[in-house]
Structure formats: C-alpha cells, structure tokens
C-alpha cells in the first residue's frame, strides 16, 4: 500500500491547521521540527513536513480529516522513547504529537481503574494512585519518560510482566480516532465487550490503526511484601537452568532478570550495585505476595538457585538493598551507553530452554563481526535484549551492526521465538518480518490495516513489510536454497 501524497505545500497545510490550533501548536520552522526527527532509535532520522500538537479530541479529528482529504500521511508520537523507529516521521507527512494530552481525567477507586490521556507518563499513573495503595502494573524501564499512549501502541512490557502481564492485560477501554477522523470507543468499563476484541488488536498496533486519545487502565493493589534475591553463576547455562527450575517449583516470580558478564561489568561501573564483577551471569529474582508466603518462597528459591550451582546467593536485607539490586539492572542501558560510543538494543524473545544455544550463537556472531555484545534478559518470559556495542563514527560499523542484529533476530526465530518481544517492529525490524511470517499472513495484516485506514495514511511503511520489500530482501538472504516469496516476480 503506497501513499500517493499530493504534496500539499507545507505552508498551505499549516494555514489550514492554524484555523483551529494555536500558533505555537503548529511547528513549521526547521529548528522547531528538529526535536521530532527521531525516537529512541536515533540512528534513523527524518524531519517531518510539519509538527502539530493538538490538545482536544476534536482537534485531533480535524487534523486527521484534513490530512485524509489531502492524502497527507500522519505519524503519531507519544514521548518518542520507542526503540524501533515507530514514531520516525515521514518527509511528506505530519507528525502528530500527543504531548499536550497530559491529564489524568479520573480515578475510580471503587472499580480500581483510571481514565487518562495518552500523553500521561507511565509512572505518573502509579504516582497519582500511590496514596490509595494502588499502582499501574506494566513498568517499562523507560517508565519515567514514556507515555501511556505509546505503551498501548507498542504493547509495552516491563520487568514485572511475567506475573502481572503486558499493557494489553492491564487496560479496559480506549478512545481512538481513525485516519478518517471518526471517533470510536473500544472496550468498556466492564471486563469484556461484545464483538471482536479490538482492544487486543489495537494493543501493539504501532500507531497504524488509529490514534489513541484516551485510555482506561486497570489499577492493582500493592502486594503486602516484596523480596529480592541476587544469585551469581560461573556458567550462563546454569543460570538459565535455574530459571526453568524456579518455575517448575510452581513459583511465578514478580520479576526474574538475567545479565551476562559484560552487562554486569557495565552496570556495576555505572551504578555500584554491588554486583559480583567476575560472575558469568547474575539472576535477580523478585518475589511478592503475603508476608509469610514471601518468606517461604525466598527459602524455596534459594535452595533451587544453590542446587543449580549458584556461586553466591544474596537476599536483600532491607528495602534499600532491594533498590540497590535493581538499580544496576534498571540502569543497564545507560550503563552500556557509557562504555561504548553507541549501542544497538535488540529485542528477540525465545523459548527459555533455548537460551544457552542462542547465547552461544550470539557469541559466535560477536566474534565474526568483531563487535562486543552485552546481554540483558527478561529471563522469566524469554525476552532477550542483546546490546551490540559499536561506534557509528567508524565508517561501515553501523551497517555491520544492523546486519549482525538482523542475524541475531534470525537466531531467535529459528529457535522458535520472535523478532520483537516489546519494542515493536517499526522501521527497524521490518525486513525480519519477512522471515517470521508467510506472505499470506503479511497480506492478511495489510488487509486488516486497510479495514481501519483504507488510504494507508496512518504511519505507513512501518511494522508490516510489503511483499515487494520481502522479495527484495529475500533476494539478498536466500535461506536453505529456497527462494522466498516464489509467487512474486523477480526484479
């Protein structure tokens, strides 16, 4: 689905917008548009034609109607922390920022939910209800900055999602505006709605089906007790084994994270979390629940860890120490950012038992490309974040990094996993989609998009590759001697 932009001059478009938007809400000068040229994946940059910052739903509808009428593509943007280029602007498109939608509209303590605007920061929701002993469960590491609208669009996860679920499990209702400017209510204040589960479909749809203008999130009561264990291993495989054994013991930890040696060293240098620097891997295991329950589970988990060959097991002695254990993990990305000029964060998910094999594969690739890798792993749910260290100033290194990243994702798919666990496909992993899904499945996804956006104007070119793109990409990467997408003519 190609957009045929009729390239309305930017100033003409700006004039149309200024009829109902304040002057400072339509950004047209280059220096004003510059801050919007990329999201968290800054290796891709593109200045948008215009930036608009509406503040009412009605204004969003009008912006979209005008863009529809003039066939101008639109990219929605939350906080711009996305890591796959989902909010990357289009040269001939309008960037629609939801930043001014930053209000919490209502908190319903009786039914434990909150109605919020899309630009509200993830953490702000938990802060607003903390006095009532409630919180919003999904906690991406970017939670101080990322927006709840962006979380829905990416179906964001966090370190607690093994037990408490992803964004899709923690929302009740959305208000969306379609590219044609029509407002739809999706979901309800009850636990379900009749008809198709559009709430699930919108979650993780990367801003391609509709612009989310309001979200009703579920709130959970805080657990009575929390405890964190830190275990060191001299062999990554043992750490991986321990993860499976904890789960086999019938325990679902609130969080279960793994870091390998390069990640441990970087995090320790940055955050002084007291991590054992020579360990091959560490596991952080958070348990929550009733007081006594947690005490018992800590003992159980300790035994499992020791039986799996942990060289050291520490139980946080205080809330402060618990924070400290987490501090290193939560700072892992910036920590790696400090030891290398640039890093590239991958996001595959694998069946957990495949971990040793996939890690060995990553090590081999790291040697082949001469690019170091630090691994951070949401071990509980199999979501792997290899961070490839590189220097974009060295000619060709970014390209090699991207190629290596692509091969890591291929490893994940071959292991029965997926190319993205929580960061989305965006522009970054669009080629790998051709490996994970058949052409018929991709076509079906395009048809689904067309049901919401027949003209293909909302965030076009992201997430779902065209078959032509796959054919071109496939021509470069022939697998097992088979030509992918045989139904397409070669060019």
């Amino acid at each position: 689905m190609q957009t045929e932009s009729q390239s309305v001059p930017a100033d003409q478009l700006a004039t149309l917008f200024r009829q109902f938007l304040a002057v400072e809400s339509v950004l047209s000068r280059e220096e004003e548009r510059r801050p919007y040229e990329c999201d968290g994946l800054s290796v891709y940059r593109q200045l948008p034609l215009l930036v608009v910052l509406p503040e009412t739903v009605e204004q969003v509808q009008r912006v979209l109607r005008i863009c529809s009428e003039h066939k101008v593509p639109v990219v929605a943007r939350g906080a711009g922390t996305g890591l796959s280029g989902g909010a990357l602007p289009l040269a001939d498109g309008v960037l629609l920022s939801l930043a001014k939608f930053n209000r919490i509209l209502g908190i319903d303590l009786q039914n434990r939910c909150a109605r919020v605007q899309p630009g509200v920061r993830n953490l702000a929701i938990s802060e607003a209800v903390a006095a009532h002993n409630l919180y919003y469960a999904p906690d991406p590491s970017s939670q101080i900055a990322c927006s709840i609208g962006g979380n829905v669009a990416e179906n964001a996860g966090g370190v607690h999602c093994l037990k408490y679920g992803l964004t899709v499990h923690n929302i009740l209702k959305l208000e969306i505006v379609t590219m044609e400017g029509e407002r739809l209510t999706i979901g309800s204040d009850a636990l379900d709605t009749p008809g198709f589960d559009l709430l699930a479909l919108l979650s993780g749809s990367e801003g391609m089906l509709g612009v989310i203008v309001e979200i009703t999130v579920k709130l959970l009561p805080r657990p009575e007790a929390v405890q964190v264990l830190l275990a060191a291993f001299d062999d990554v495989a043992n750490a991986g084994d321990a993860v499976g054994k904890i789960i086999a013991a019938g325990i679902i930890p609130a969080g279960l994270e793994m870091m390998d040696n390069p990640a441990i060293r970087a995090a320790e240098a940055f955050a002084q979390a007291g991590y054992p620097k020579d360990a091959a891997a560490i596991l952080l295991c958070e348990l929550d629940g009733g007081q006594q329950e947690v005490v018992t589970q800590v003992e159980q988990v300790k035994t499992v860890l020791q039986d799996c060959g942990a060289t050291e097991v520490r139980v946080a002695a205080s809330a402060a120490e618990r924070e400290k254990f987490w501090k290193g993990r939560k700072a892992a990305f910036p920590a790696v950012g400090r030891i290398s000029p640039d890093y590239y964060c991958m996001d595959g998910t694998i069946p957990r038992h495949q971990l040793p094999k996939v890690l060995a594969g990553i090590t081999a690739l790291s040697e082949e490309y001469s690019l170091p890798v630090a691994n951070v792993f949401h071990a509980g749910d199999g979501n792997l974040h290899p961070l490839i260290l590189f220097d974009a100033n060295r000619p060709g290194e970014l390209e090699r990094t991207e190629e290596m990243g692509g091969r890591i994702l291929d490893l994940c798919v071959a292991a029965g996993g997926t190319i993205t666990g929580e960061h989305g496909v965006g522009v970054e992993k669009i080629n790998q989609m051709c490996h994970q899904f058949s052409s018929a499945t991709l076509q079906q996804m395009h048809a689904l998009k067309a049901a919401f956006d027949p003209a293909g104007l909302l965030n076009p070119g992201k997430a779902i590759p065209t078959l032509h793109r796959c054919a071109e990409f496939g021509a470069m990467h022939v697998h097992h001697g088979e030509v992918p997408f045989p139904e397409l003519e070669r060019f």
């Binding site: 039914n111 204040d189 089906l209 009561p221 006594q292 998910t349 949401h378 993205t420």
Partner: protein, 374 residues
Amino acid sequence: MIQQNIAQELAAQVQQAFAGKQPLRITGSGSKLSSGRAVSAQPLEVTKHCGIVDYTPTELVITARAGTSLQTLESVLAESGQMLPFEPPYLGKDATLGGTIACGLSGPRRPYAGAARDFTLGARIINGRGEILSFGGRVMKNVAGYDASRLMVGAQGTLGVLLEISLKVLPRPVCEHTLIMDMDTGTAIAVMTQLANFALPLTAACHLPATPQQTAQLYLRLSGTEETIMAAVTFIQKQLQKEQQTLSVTEKKNGDGQADAFWQDLRERRLPFFTDANRLWRLSVPPATPVFTETLPGECLLDWGGAQRWLKTDAGADTVQAAAQKMGGHATLFDQEGATLAPLSPALIKMHRQIKTAFDPEGILNPGRLYEGL
C-alpha cells in the same frame, strides 16, 4: 490421516466454499451452540484436527490443535501441576479447545487471573479464502505484527477456522479454601469491593440470591499455599468485623467435594439458579456497580467479584440493554434463540464489517453467528 493433511483438507474445503460462495458452519463438539446465534449452513467438521503439538511445562506454554478435547488438554496440564488459568467453562463434556477459544468464555477465576484472550499467545487459522495463516507465536512476549490471534478469541469462527492455538499456562495452586457467609447483595458488593483493594489470594467471588430454602450467600475462593490462605482468612475476618459484619463464616478446605462442585457448577451454569431459567441475561458491568433491582427487577447472581451478573427478569430487552450500557457495560440475552449480543454503535458495526471482509471477503465463515451480517 496425518494431522498436516487434515489441515490441508480443511483449507481445501474452505477454498472450495470461497470459490462457490458457499457459507460454512464450523462445528466442533456442539457444546457451545447456545453461545451465539444459530448458523444454517453446510457444516465444516474440525474435531479431527486434534492433538498436543508442543508442551514444555517450564516454558509455561502449550500448543495444541483446535480439535483437542478440553478435558484431554487439562489433564495433560494437571499431570505437570499446571492449568489453564481462565478456568474455561465446558458447557458439554466433549468441549474442544477450538470452541473454547472461539467463544472466548472464562470461568470464575477470570477477574483475578485473566480471560481466555489474556492467555492466548498465538493461533494458526484458515481465513475465508482458505489460506493457512499464523499469528503471534509460542512465546510469552511477542509484538511482531498485529495481534490477530487475540482477535480470534470471541470472534466465534467468523474471522477464521482455528487450527492450532498456543496458550500461556500457570502452576496450579496447592490449596484452595472456600468461605461461605450469609449476606445480602448490597453488602456483598461492598465487601467484594473492599477486599479487592488488597493483594489477597482471591480467585473467585460469587453471590447467590436468596431462595425459599436458603438465605443469600457470598462465596469466596482463596488459592495458594496453606499458610497464604490462612493469613488471608484471618485478614478477611478482621475486615468483615471492621465493616460490622460479625457473622459466621463457614470454611471449606482443600478438596472439599461440595465446595469444588459449587465452583464447577457455577462455571458450567448448572447451579439451580440457572437450571430453571429459559430467559437469562448476562450483564458484564464494572464490579462495584450497585444493586439494580429497582431498574431491573428480578433475581440476580453475581460472579467475577460483581463484574458478571446473571439476571432473570421480565424487563424488556431494550430496557436491560440501556441499563447495562448506562452502568458502563453491556448485556447478552440467552434464550431459545441462543445468545443475542448487545448492539454495537453504528461506527463500530461498520468497523466490524470491514474487519470481517478483510478476513472473509465472501462472508462464508459462520455467517450471522455473532451479529446479523457478520
């Protein structure tokens, strides 16, 4: 025939129907016929496509073909101390996994653990063109492409024939206790609302209306380790005292046949409340919704901590629908015609039609099962 061929064979049948614009009625064991509207079309038999494809308990994921009997699936999970957390209603002993997911029904544990859709990770389907497609995957976290697998849950076969489904599973709790106390509806709603503010190991909460033989009662189920439950029981009793609810609580321990049967009968809609109803409403509403007998007179049973209310009323359909909508929810009518879902807004109906067309351009898959024209 090997399973691969069965899938191909089914796809061929759909292709043929697509070419001939011949509607199909997807048929499993027939246990959930009353969960939608009747479809009159040529049957497409799917139960032969069965068997577990992949199950590694420590991955907490099971993949099975849609024709697999729910009973088989649950007993395989039980052998490894695991379960389907959404406690699916069978509504017939031969219920299949495919029907369970297609209807998207969830049992008493739903508000505490999640619904069928929440545990669905991936699906292989045949669309209305007879193409075999795969969405999602077999891992717990996956945002590659649109989440069309969860879209299949509750679509009742109108978007695709389910071939294979991957589900997240969880460990089975070691103990389960049931607390039973005499209580009127209003108080029960207040108590359930109050308790929901604490992270308790609650896994079901149901209120039964009074009958000539029995006063109204609140049933609470707690699951976890023995000590977790004991602590929770003490806590709950303290809370009840605070609310001046100094009443007697009957506690039924793990494996108590009567308590287990109660929750099963609730899940299967087999309690006496259900058996004498030939016109039954299901209201899905925010859990703390107050008693509504003034607007909707009749007998009401509360499940899901108040979020699912079964109502026997003489009020007219429009009155019930309007009331449910005003409460922030919706209502479904179960009668001889099967299930009639709440009407959708014109904008939503249009979107549903477009999505239907995207998957099933000739409208041959279970036409009319959810709504007229879908």
